[in-house]
């Protein structure tokens, strides 16, 4: 079993979001970078669990980004995985990024794991695109994943519930909460990560089909209207007559 885990670098969840250069660039000033939580907590940990069950399993990590993504990749390797591949390019277009990962993924992997989305661009698109590019089935928003030989049993989220499906491998799966429990790297893992191979490859030719023109912050709230806890009827009146929300 050979698993490719897609890892992305994102700002920490507590980061204050701001923009520079006339709102065309994300302001990286003072931003802490982390592994995209969905990639780290769910897809990477599930891949590591599968390797713990069957030590013959090979787990490779892949990321698309410049040299500044390497601390994140090392941190991911400290959790587990045999080696990492960094595709040396920077772009925000999902088609372009997916084409880079697909070029690696078609190289004999049985499974490609992604997080359900990245917490910066929230596209939920890379997994589906990779799957289309390598002509493999795609299960999105998986909350459980079990291997049974050449197929897998996956539970995925649907509106108001869940669906259990059998899927033939190779397949692409986007992972979310439920599929694995978050882990913290231990000292042995951190030491081992230092010497694990980190290959840098140059991007393949691909088109970027979108580009970010500018960013905007949402309009600020007008301020809260406080109602006395002894006058709950007033809140209901406001919600009904002023906000027209009920």
């Amino acid at each position: 079993m050979k698993i490719l885990v897609c890892v992305s670098k994102t700002p920490d969840t507590t980061s204050k979001i701001a923009f520079t250069d006339g709102n065309t660039k994300f302001d990286e000033n003072g931003v802490q970078w982390i592994i995209n939580p969905y990639d780290e907590w769910y897809s990477l940990v599930r891949a590591i669990e599968l390797k713990e069950k069957d030590p013959a399993t090979i787990v490779h990590l892949v990321t698309v980004g410049g040299a500044d993504t390497e601390p994140i990749i090392r941190k991911a390797l400290a959790l587990g995985g045999d080696e990492a591949i960094r595709i040396n390019t920077d772009n925000s277009d999902s088609y372009y990024i997916a084409a880079q990962i697909a070029a690696i993924a078609k190289d004999g992997y049985d499974l490609v794991f992604t997080g359900k989305e990245t917490i910066d661009y929230n596209g939920s698109s890379i997994g589906g695109m990779i799957a289309e590019m390598i002509d493999a089935p795609y299960i999105s928003l998986a909350t459980k994943f079990e291997l049974n030989g050449t197929t897998a049993t996956v539970t995925r989220e649907i509106e108001g519930g869940e669906e259990i499906a059998e899927v033939a491998l190779p397949a692409v799966v986007s992972c979310q909460k439920g599929i694995a429990e978050q882990r913290i790297p231990n000292m042995r893992g951190i030491m081992a990560a230092r010497t694990k191979p980190l290959k840098v490859v140059e991007p393949v030719a691909a088109d970027a089909l979108t580009a970010i023109v500018s960013f905007e912050m949402p309009p600020a709230k007008a301020g809260v209207k406080l109602v006395s806890p002894d006058n709950v009827a007033e809140l209901v009146k406001l919600l009904h007559e002023e906000a027209k929300a009920i």
Binding site: S94, Y95, Y121, S124, S125, M129, E162, S174, P218, K225
Partner: protein
């Protein structure tokens, strides 16, 4: 040239998010001076001709039983083929569970730029620029699509449905459907519960409720309002509530008309998941709770006293 809107169904019924996508797609077509058509896969018991009231003139249907279950690979091939046949230059999805599985694949098949999670109509004054939410709702990005064919998936609850008069012509399409590689073996729907991402009103609880045994007051309120229930991350992590109820940056992102937060302090990660809600009400005994800064209405008070009163007052309002 036309706009094709993918209409999503479950067990024969069209999903609410698809009515939003229809309204949106018709508006996009108007902007481009072209027509909007809808596409439905599988067998549907709802009246398809009535989708005309959202402004589409034609509803294509590929009525093949194997499309009653979602295999994104099979779906994408059929949708892309239908888009090509109808000469669509824009394909619109809802950014719901099906859209997330399928839109990206369709974009690849059509070699189309994708904006996933759109929240406004495209600006066509200079190219084709679509606004989407980024950083989990903390900001917006205006994204230009440079390819000839464009795919947009629309965030649920971000575009108001407009229904008028009209009937659409239902056009059966015969497109070859591949054998699925994904076989659905079981479906578990929580019956009687309002799906969180489709809910107009969400009532959400945090650690301030002290324990799962205290959720009764929140459930009563939700029932009275016909609301979906949600929770903060610590509550989900402690298994007080099922994890699919966790809203926030790393959970579900919601954008209801009304979000009522009970005993939730309002950490930045939680706010990211809910700040697109139209109206936010915060009930918290700590006047310093950061959530009040993001709220429209608030009560500084004990949830155990305020929430039952609120339920009573809503009962009274409904009785009027």
């Amino acid at each position: 040239m036309s706009v094709l809107i993918f209409v999503d169904q479950s067990e024969g019924h069209i999903k609410k998010a698809s009515f939003e996508a229809l309204t949106y797609g018709v508006k996009v077509a108007e902007q481009l001076g072209t027509t909007a058509e809808a596409l439905v896969l599988g067998s549907v018991s709802d009246d398809l001709a009535s989708l005309g009231k959202y402004g589409v003139k034609k509803v294509h249907q590929v009525n093949n039983a194997s499309l009653n279950q979602l295999d994104a690979q099979v779906y994408a091939k059929v949708i892309a083929e239908a888009a090509t046949q109808s000469g669509a230059t824009v394909v619109v999805f809802s950014h719901n569970q099906t859209g997330k599985a399928v839109a990206a694949r369709v974009a690849v098949r059509l070699k189309a730029g994708l904006v996933a999670g759109a929240c406004a109509l495209p600006d066509t004054s200079n190219g084709f620029v679509v606004r989407k939410t980024v950083f989990s709702g903390k900001a917006f990005a205006n994204v230009s699509i440079t390819s000839a064919v464009k795919v947009i998936s629309l965030n649920p609850n971000s575009y108001t449905t407009i229904a008028g008069e009209g009937t659409a012509e239902v056009n059966p399409l015969s497109i070859a459907v591949d054998a699925p590689k994904v076989k659905v073996t079981a479906v578990n729907k929580v019956s009687g519960e309002v799906p969180l991402t489709e809910a107009e009103i969400v009532v959400s609880g945090g650690r301030g409720l002290k324990g799962p045994e205290n959720w009764g007051i929140l459930l009563d309120l939700a029932k009275e309002l016909g609301a979906a229930t949600a929770c903060s991350r610590p509550v989900g992590d402690a298994h007080w509530r099922p994890h699919h109820e966790h809203v926030g940056q790393t959970g579900v992102q919601v954008a209801p008309n009304l979000y009522i937060a009970i005993g939730i302090s309002g950490a930045i990660q939680h706010l990211a998941g809910v700040n697109r809600s139209k109206v936010i009400v915060v009930i918290n005994k700590d006047p310093e709770a950061p959530f009040f800064k993001a709220a429209d209405y608030g009560i500084v008070g004990d949830a155990f006293e305020v929430v039952p009163k609120l339920t009573e007052e809503i009962k009274k309002l409904k009785a009027k």
